[in-house]
Symmetry: C2
Subunit: 369 residues, 2 copies
Amino acid sequence: MAAAEKTTRPVFAVLGAGHGGLAMAGHLAIMGYKVNLYNRSEERIWGVEARGGIQIESDFGLEGFGKINITTTDIKEAVEDADIIMVVVPATAHKEIAVELAPYLRKEQIVVLNPGRNFGALEFKQVLGSQGVDYEVIVAEAQTFIYASRAVGPGQVKIFRIKNSIPVASIRAHLIPEVLKKLRIAYPQFVAGDNIFKTSLDNIGAVFHPTLCVLNAGWIEDDSEFQFYLQGATRSVCRVLEQVDRERTQVAEALGIRALTAREWLFLAYNAMGRDLYEAIKANAGYRGIAAPISLNVRYINEDVPTSLVPIASVGKKFGIETPTIDSIIDLASILTHTDYWQTGRTVTSLGIEKMTLRELLLLAIGEK
Amino acid sequence: MAAAEKTTRPVFAVLGAGHGGLAMAGHLAIMGYKVNLYNRSEERIWGVEARGGIQIESDFGLEGFGKINITTTDIKEAVEDADIIMVVVPATAHKEIAVELAPYLRKEQIVVLNPGRNFGALEFKQVLGSQGVDYEVIVAEAQTFIYASRAVGPGQVKIFRIKNSIPVASIRAHLIPEVLKKLRIAYPQFVAGDNIFKTSLDNIGAVFHPTLCVLNAGWIEDDSEFQFYLQGATRSVCRVLEQVDRERTQVAEALGIRALTAREWLFLAYNAMGRDLYEAIKANAGYRGIAAPISLNVRYINEDVPTSLVPIASVGKKFGIETPTIDSIIDLASILTHTDYWQTGRTVTSLGIEKMTLRELLLLAIGEK
């Protein structure tokens, strides 16, 4: 019975104990899964260690205490008996997680990036390869993160929302059904994501977050408060958002992918309708009350620019698609935050696809390369 | 006596009856000069025609009524007896003024662009040439506009401030002393401006205005009010301003010109001191109370981008100086305001200097080319 249960109920390792990792680990544990929780630094897991688990609260009936099997800063300990390894760290930390993970990965494990941002699975595979992982571990990426949550105390998390349709794709696309089959035991919310280019290029945060921050830089850094979407996305600002969005969908097209436009996405994700992006944003009840960040040192810039805009621009250049507006946002964000994102970000070089033809790239996504 | 007076007291034509042109025409008339006032559209001069002149007020003792000799929409009538032609229109209108003026210009007249923004005198000369003006009219540019003023009623202007050191340069640099000699009869405030590249590249509005608008686009277009410099120029925004400024001074250096940095200029113009640009802006009492524009359809963008940033970037490219930050601001301003400033703005092509070497360019400024 215990052996049978092992095959049907996967063991999870959750890597990362921020707002998101704590929500996922706690919720999985409450659902009855065996969960190991890893975080690189100790401070983040002290509360969980002290309690022996994670207390979840919400406004929609989900609450309870999830007992965590192992809480550790030793990645080996966290992953050695895991079937599914959920990576829940900022996308800028995927590289280092891949390096740390490489020595302990087993062929039959599944790594899921929650989310991958743009080309996260590709980067992860590239780093694993550079670390001598020569067997084919399954690396998958989710298109967005399933929880909206916030740590509210030591080992305590409030979950605001669980999204209900999260596309996921693995590098060997023919394995997507297998990945889904295992993931959906715990999470029926995961759906098939076509391929890693589709999950990557449908990342709408890449469009909204950095551009809204750059074109409202003074307002954000001043003491004033404002609503990020409802006030920050004015008519003229939306013209820039639409241009960034157009460049993203053009890069997608160069890969043969039809990416959703931001306006289409607002309709599908929020049922928000408008004749243009400005009207659609204004019509989105989900944006009401979302305050702007109070500093430019935020993941909207320091995560989204290097792991979303830079790879979109870099892939665009490889295939002859100009992305001047995206480039401008990257350049200005770099100066605003004193970081050269062209250097630190994901590029066709760092992704190891610099010399590939489109055919080779698509074969790579399918797993024939 | 009348004939003698004519030689010592020049007759002025003021072209443009906006806030600035009205102040200049009214003040010159109060000082006793014969002034003709031209405006292309009638509405702007109705008030002056009805009064027969311009009523000037101020908080520093300057007030009175300046009788205007001729108020007209016929440029020929305005300039035919003028010794000095003061062009006081947005720099984007210099081209059309040059076209209208060309048939009536006489060799001994002096044209002064108030101000030229960047390379205004060069553009003006280029257009005059294209209109068949083959004799050498003197075209000069002021580095900034002498008045801060506002029309407060029909034919009524309030002058807030008269600046006290305005560099001016003509295309044939050896004529600068002659230009100054005539101008300073009325305006002792004008000083020698070295050459047209120096007056052009020391234009600090090019640094501040467009960048502050772009990086505060949402805030400007939202209903909120804020102080343009004191709130809009946050620490991070100032990093971008400093980079724009660095690119401007590098372009100047490529022409052999040492342009003032924005920080140095704040010290010289306002006695505002700071270890960096952020501190200097904060320390500038002159910026207190200056409200941000309430729309992006403002001269800070629609004049400064095409007549300042675009020519700086274009000249930079010609001489191998990269201006990526300036380019980003131009690109985003273009999208924000639905205008391709790379097309409408001043470039080495439209300035007629595309094929010139630096030596030829400097000879042009001196008048040997």
